[in-house]
């Protein structure tokens, strides 16, 4: 067999495996989210379907799949149906360059970080299309917020990522992980704590999670950009949200928490543990913090994260030049 064919086959398996990972982790995450929400509010959470409600998300997914796709009058047919697909489609290329284990990387590319940052930008476009195409005032307001938020928070995110790239001298995620050691004091979070903080705040904002969930603020905009979506249209947005969470947490793990590098257990398990710890923290945030006002959101970005990110980047550059 030729090399090209081998490579193509490998990529195909990687894509299918990634899709499986996305689907399974979405099921787990939604269950986890509802359980955490329940316990934080001192109630049991889903309990009826399966033991302790473990099959609740499966039942919900079946329900969403069984529902009729419905488009409101006056909605833009093309944009309305393209938006949920466009929101979910980037999920697969986003997860491909992530090193899940020492040899478990779907697509080994030099510019993995750039690939992820580029494809994650599509999400804002999808939300914008959904809001515009729905012919609904709440959806439109949600879309406007989504764009302002995503564009704003991408800049400090990029800066915190860049400061790690400056240190390691590469944009290849596998090499960034290899640069770090197995123990916590070898990880980049130890040398770049501020960058990690900025990255994490921006990541929560980029995935439109509470307290930055203004595009889908239930109490103000009913459901924001996905007000008019039901069935699998809504399901895809939902899936995209959890996939994006998975992606930002995977990138955070690879950049700052040593990726699969850790003692005792095989690398793959450590990667999963680290991702899920970060995801749990994001879920914890959601059930703790109230939503920001829109001016607070932009003030936090432009007056705090951006200057701090810039200062951190300059400092890193300076230190890298000196030493």
């Amino acid at each position: 067999m030729s090399y090209e064919f081998h490579r193509f086959f490998y990529l195909l398996i990687a894509v299918v495996a990634t899709a499986a990972v996305v689907a399974v982790s979405a099921l787990i995450l939604i269950y986890l989210e509802r359980k955490v929400a329940g316990h934080v509010q001192r109630r049991p959470g889903p309990f009826e379907v399966g033991p302790h409600g473990v099959l609740q998300t499966v039942a919900d997914a079946l329900k969403l799949m069984g529902k009729q796709p419905f488009r409101p009058d006056g909605a833009d047919r093309l944009l309305f149906w393209l938006a949920p697909i466009l929101a979910f489609a980037p999920a697969l290329p986003l997860l491909l360059p992530i090193p899940f284990g020492p040899v478990l990387t779907g697509l080994e590319v030099n510019l993995g970080l750039i690939l992820i940052l580029a494809f994650s930008g599509i999400n804002a476009l999808a939300l914008c299309m959904a809001g515009w195409g729905s012919n609904n005032k709440w959806a439109l307001l949600g879309a406007a917020r989504a764009v302002a938020q995503s564009v704003g928070y991408e800049i400090p995110l990029l800066m915190s990522v860049l400061s790690v790239a400056f240190m390691t001298g590469t944009l290849n995620l596998s090499k960034i992980v290899a640069y770090q050691g197995p123990w916590p004091w070898h990880w980049n979070i130890f040398t770049q704590p501020l960058a990690f903080l900025i990255y994490f705040v921006c990541a929560v904002a980029e995935t439109n999670r509470a307290p930055f969930d203004l595009p889908e603020a239930e109490s103000e905009l009913t459901a924001g950009f996905h007000t008019e979506y039901s069935g699998m249209g809504f399901g895809l947005f939902f899936l995209a949200e959890y996939t994006n969470m998975l992606v930002v947490c995977s990138v955070a793990t690879a950049l700052f928490l040593g990726g699969w590098q850790a003692p005792f257990l095989p690398g793959f398990w450590w990667f999963l543990i680290k991702i899920y710890l970060l995801l749990l923290i994001i879920i914890w945030f959601r059930w703790t913090f109230p939503r920001l006002r829109f001016d607070q959101l932009l003030n936090l970005n432009w007056k705090w994260l951006l200057p701090l990110g810039l200062a951190n980047l300059m400092g890193t550059a300076l230190l890298m030049k000196i030493f």
């Binding site: 316990h39 934080v40 509010q41 001192r42 109630r43 049991p44 309990f47 914890w284 059930w287």
Partner: protein
């Protein structure tokens, strides 16, 4: 100086975020406070204002206190209460006419009371007017907090049911027509 203060405030605000996480974190670790209904039920229903029920008479717990004065049926804003008076027995009437020595005993036998007491819970708004206005305090809110049914008819209650057959046997004679007995 003002901007310095504002920056200090913002940094102090970060600490409040940690505090918030601590609050939800401890709540997460604590026991649940909700009761998981089909498997367990709450036991503090004493103050629950459920559908109304009739109070037992102090001297005869097999009879309601109700004197069938119709006040409840009158004040009920939705007309969910239908009371039909008990017909005085013929024998009792005779003794009353005779008058004389055993007047007290006759009075006791000729006690006023309801023949039927129907209550349509589907129309009740639990306003409590009947409870407040009953001259003999014969109506109270029950603590039936777990009332459920799949049929509207299941919520039309015969409030005399709990007093057993004795009260029910003294229904008005077939000749007497009233809206409540027709149903």
């Amino acid at each position: 100086m003002d901007s310095v203060n504002r920056i200090r405030d913002d940094v102090a605000g970060l600490w409040s975020l940690v505090k918030g996480l601590k609050v939800t974190g401890t709540c997460f670790a604590r026991d649940q406070v909700t009761v998981h209904y089909p498997r367990a039920q709450v036991d503090n229903l004493r103050t629950f204002r459920g559908p109304i029920e009739l109070v037992e008479s102090p001297d005869d717990p097999r009879r309601p206190r109700c004197i069938a004065c119709m006040t409840c049926a009158g004040v009920c804003p939705h007309g969910c209460i239908t009371v039909v008076r008990k017909k005085p027995a013929k024998m009792e009437k005779g003794t009353e006419k005779g008058g004389g020595s055993d007047k007290g005993e006759a009075k006791k036998k000729a006690r006023k009371g309801p023949a039927t007491f129907t209550y349509d819970y589907t129309r009740c708004c639990l306003c409590g007017f009947c409870v407040e206005n009953c001259p003999v305090r014969s109506i109270r809110f029950s603590s039936r907090g777990y009332l459920a049914g799949i049929d509207k008819g299941a919520f039309v209650f015969d409030l005399l049911e709990k007093f057993g057959e004795e009260e029910r046997s003294q229904k008005p004679e077939p000749g007497v027509t009233s809206p409540a007995t027709a149903g």
